[in-house]
Symmetry: C2
Subunit: 335 residues, 2 copies
DNA sequence: ATGAAAGCGCTAACAG
DNA sequence: CTGTTAGCGCTTTCAT
């Protein structure tokens, strides 16, 4: 079918190794041979077989990326950053999505190790309880976690300032005069969601506002649960003057839902989110949120992984700076 | 490092070929051997080396996906669909983004052929003029185009009903009493953008509304050009009572921009988009748009490609049904 | 039911 | 500067 270095060698009556060296600019090959080889390679439409190179060199120049969902603002942006850095470094990326499921995550990691990827970037699924499937492969291939990190594994992790971002945002709501702040949280077993919850709690306690359990509602990062939640709060007569959601999709739905009930945002109820999704700039009023820089997280995670691949550098934990973005959904004029 | 079939064979004092056959459930191996092999494989933590298998079988069970941008609602959704179908069929996907650039597209395709992917799903970049880089590899590996298709290449293509969707949407605007309809178009060398423009034009002519060249403005699928465009239209006193944008991001910006100028949507100016992006449901008023089903396009494209890989089926051109979604940004009450 | 041997395409000692 | 040889891990005839 397609030409190999043997074919080139035969036509030129030289040895395959010389062809290989010429093609890879190895030292000690005459200019003449190099040009002859290149010309013949072109003529025969030669394409290097990376599979063979990888097998021989025990190095695939390929990294695996495992995420819960590919489409989804955060991961799509992160993957974009990952691809960029990887491509620039000569690596390809194999992507797998797990639908947040443990079994699928397991299979994806299996498949990637079989493919002999040089490293793996992993964001674990929210329904993943165990870590044995990760432990099972962490001696064989460098793994870097991003966003959905897991502390108990001694693995490098790159994430956002979830705690500080939530803390600052809650503080902002408090500073603008709000006291009864509802928090729509994410799943309990997702560390970032719990970190955001912690930030919210800390800000409250720092400002001597008692934490009220019934003001925290787990909406599972699922925006379709928001309207029912708001409906319940209002019908039960729960008093609140602000709402901080663990992600923007939930916050945006909250704004829409609150407006349906005649509540003014931010006068009656200030709303804030997390993530700086595109929708946050479109909703009316525009949403105050935290930019956790998904693309940057992907970029840095990849850089850490590539380092780890090259030199077996030690485990690192990187926190990418998050920035508060104050818009009209919270009373930032008062601040 | 990691165990191979040779290691298993040695420990069991049998031959590597037997181990291979046992591991792959080939006929003619005794139950006893099979179970012994499996136990030993487990014990040695054996992982099949897909690189070696691929090299040997000349089949990588891997498909390449090339898109202009990974993050971007349409492509992220499409890729999600692609990954799903591919994974279910036992294929992995290597993803590359081209930033709409011809040189990068070329390199990506090169890299993928080197990696001996079994097939390629390609959506060409808007700044890609030539097709020689595609021609160069289309004999070596099955290629299926999606979304950004190219007619002059005899390749399978899967796309949306761009023409019909635009036609129906324009017709809808006309039916609701609008006559002076601005069209914010996409790049001239992107076929889908031109198909949408054609649909717009056809609807006008079908309803005896003269086509006005100055009402079509190329915004290059770039929403940041929209506000300046609207500003210009208004300051120049151009009269229009509706606006149809070639994608939702542009349409949403148009709504925001028009509202800034005190125009009522849809009473003064009706607005419609294309794509059914998440923002279309968030903007106020909600945007009338065309759902072109990105995930479904990805799914079908992958199915076609897998067929092509397996049996060299003929070239097909699939059009995925698009649906009109009428919301408040256009006067659908009148319809 | 199993083994021996060849080879996928490539690179890397080693030798000259 | 170039060739010879061996082998990465696996599958697949062809034997037996």
């Amino acid at each position: 079918m397609s030409a190999t270095i043997k074919d080139i060698a035969k036509r030129l009556r030289i040895s395959p190794s010389t062809v290989s060296r010429a093609l890879n600019n190895k030292p000690g090959i005459s200019k003449k041979t190099i040009s002859a080889v290149n010309i013949m390679a072109n003529k025969l439409n030669y394409k290097r077989n990376s599979l063979a190179v990888s097998l021989r060199q025990d190095k695939s120049f390929c990294i695996g990326v495992v995420v819960p969902w590919i489409s989804n603002y955060f991961f799509a942006e992160a993957i974009s950053g990952i691809e960029h850095v990887a491509f620039c470094a000569g690596y390809q990326i194999i992507i797998a999505q797990t639908n947040d499921d443990e079994e699928e995550e397991k299979r994806a990691l299996q498949a990637l190790t079989s493919s002999r990827v040089d490293g793996i970037l992993l964001s674990t699924g929210s329904k993943v309880k165990g870590v044995s499937h990760i432990r099972a492969i962490q001696k064989e291939v460098p793994i870097v976690l991003f966003d959905r990190t897991i502390k108990r594994l001694k693995l490098s992790g790159i994430g956002a300032e979830d705690y500080r971002g939530a803390y600052e945002m809650t503080k902002h709501l408090i500073k603008s005069g709000k006291r009864k702040i509802v928090h729509l949280s994410g799943p309990k077993n997702v560390e970032i969601a719990m970190n955001r919850l912690s930030g919210y709690k800390s800000a409250l306690s720092k400002h001597k506002i008692p934490f009220k359990r019934h003001l925290v509602i787990d909406c599972d990062f699922n925006e379709s649960l928001v309207h029912p939640t708001i409906t319940k709060l209002i019908s039960e007569g729960v008093e609140f003057d602000a709402l901080f959601a663990s992600n923007d999709d939930m916050a945006v739905q909250a704004i829409i839902s609150l407006k349906k009930y005649g509540k003014k945002v931010p006068e009656d109820i200030a709303v804030a989110g997390f993530g700086n999704y595109p929708v946050s700039k479109i909703v009316n009023p525009q949403l105050s949120t935290v930019n956790h820089q998904p693309k940057e997280i992907g970029i840095q995670a990849t850089k850490v992984l590539l380092n780890q691949i090259d030199q077996l550098t030690p485990v690192v934990n990187l926190i990418i700076k998050s920035e508060l973005i104050l818009r009209d959904s919270s009373c930032n004029s008062v601040d």
